[in-house]
Amino acid sequence: MNPALDKPIRTSHVIGEVSESFSRIRAMILRYLFLHKRSLPRTFEIVFWPIMELFVWGFVSVYIQNVSHNTLSKIAMSLINAMIFWDILYRSQQGVSISFIEDIWTQNIVNLLISPLKIWEWVTAAALYGMIKTSLITLILATIAFFLYQFNLVGILQISIIPLIFNLLLFGWALGIFTSSLVIRWGHAAEALIWGVPFLIQPLSAIFYPLSVLPPWLQIISKALPSTYVFEGMRAVIQTGHMPSHYFLVGLGLNLIYFILAGFFFQWMYGKARSSGRLGRLGMD
């Protein structure tokens, strides 16, 4: 074989593969978007809960600000910001898990599992779809917060908003892959975990209060979560006007570790489900 002749063939093969992957990812995003085309309740549900939460936390913040005669305005700001950020984390996790479970509910999952769709393409499509939803929700929440509470999300966080949200999305996707793995292994029995797992990490992520509030032994666990660095970073920006880079870098490093672990965990659970016969029965139990 002539390596010089072989190279263009291999290159065109790689380009073909990439183009096929791109087409499959697009098809899956389209599949999720079609769901919203004619389902008003489904679209309404995306924005309903975050808006309700914003109302609650927004008015709590207003109350704190009033009783403290404006001395606690930064705490009030942190609460609204934390609520919006928590929603980004929660929705990005849900984006991956719900997209995945949707195909179990509709008994379509076997059709996808036997198709040329690769698992990473599936996860990428679900993550991108989740990102579209999250962006939309964030935009709506930021707008409501601006007009109702005079809270300017971008104005307060400025450029720091990008690395902070980036780390939240990454952690949400890693959590989404983890919870999807549980469903693939245990089917419907594990569905409740899709909604439960994010709330397991909520008290540990120092979302509505600083890390220092937690007892020392809990701080150790908290420091192992990328979300803690996002929320600590967010408070640092509100307090001082800038975010020390370690909040982003440590969060990113942890995210990469969690992503790799989630990938391996998915593969492991997939193998277990394939061995136990669960994979072919997904959606039928």
Binding site: R24, M28, R31, V110, N111, G277
Partner: protein, 257 residues
């Protein structure tokens, strides 16, 4: 055998001594068979015989405890992505998303399978199965017979060389089942597809299958053309063979005891 050299002389599917154990149960017990290109092989047996288990192994959805499955000469466990481009599956128990329109479902799977000229292909398949008028209908609003035909459209989108059909006519009325069988036979002859076909409708199997494989408790009980098997079991119909197999405890070499 490389994937591109599938032809009539080589089996497209080979199952060699497949065993599958679950805690306390052996679902497949040294099951071996081949599916040749261009033939329809009926995989028959009572509920729990191991038919779906065998199909899931061929689809790469299940790991056998021992033995080997080869599709186009490749292991479905390691080459699912390559094999899936030339294989498809339809089952009465697997559905397309009910909240999408018929055309949307087929469009998505066309893109997943990389179908060229997908609009023409979708129209052709919908016409073929006589559901062209349902193109813009929500899938969930279809009758079970219409859903079955839609599933078959999906299964033929990628012009598969091997088609695994798990009870494809289970929810169809006799007239529609007949139409679907004839359509499948037509496509199979035109395109020389190898079809692995499971059904509990024995007259249908006699009509459509070139060869049948009776399995019971995961083991092969009888294999051959429908005529040969009926002759070996000294019956006039496959239905009687089926009943004999289910009711007898020990059957050897196609003869009931």
């Amino acid at each position: 055998m490389p994937i591109n050299s599938v032809n009539q002389n080589h089996p497209s599917v080979i199952a060699k001594n497949l065993c599958k154990d679950y805690p306390g149960t052996r679902a497949l017990d040294h099951l071996s068979f081949t599916l040749n290109q261009g033939e329809i092989l009926g995989l028959l047996g009572p509920n729990g015989a191991g038919k779906t288990t065998a199909i899931h192994i061929l689809l790469g959805l299940l790991t056998p405890t021992s033995g080997e499955a080869l599709v186009f000469g490749l292991s479905p466990l390691k080459n699912r992505q390559v094999i899936s481009k030339r294989l498809n599956f339809s089952s009465a128990y697997v559905q397309l998303p009910s909240n999408l329109k018929v055309a949307e479902n087929l469009l998505i799977f066309s893109k997943i399978y990389g179908v060229k000229k997908f609009n023409q292909k979708i129209d052709y398949l919908l016409e073929l199965f006589d559901i062209a008028d349902l193109k813009n209908r929500i899938t969930g609003a279809l009758s079970s017979g219409e859903k079955t035909r839609l599933n078959l459209c999906k299964a033929l989108l990628n012009d598969p060389q091997v088609l695994l059909l798990d009870e494809p006519t289970a929810s169809l009325d006799p007239e529609m089942a007949d139409t679907v069988r004839k359509t499948l036979q037509k496509i199979q002859q035109e395109r020389n597809i190898g079809i692995l076909y499971t059904s509990h409708n024995m007259p249908e199997v006699e009509e459509i299958c070139d060869r049948v494989l009776f399995i019971h408790e995961g083991r092969t009980i009888a294999e051959g053309t429908p005529e040969t098997i009926m002759k070996n079991f000294e019956t006039n119909t496959l239905e009687q063979v089926f009943i004999k197999i289910v009711r007898s405890g020990d059957i050897i070499s196609g003869k009931s005891t």
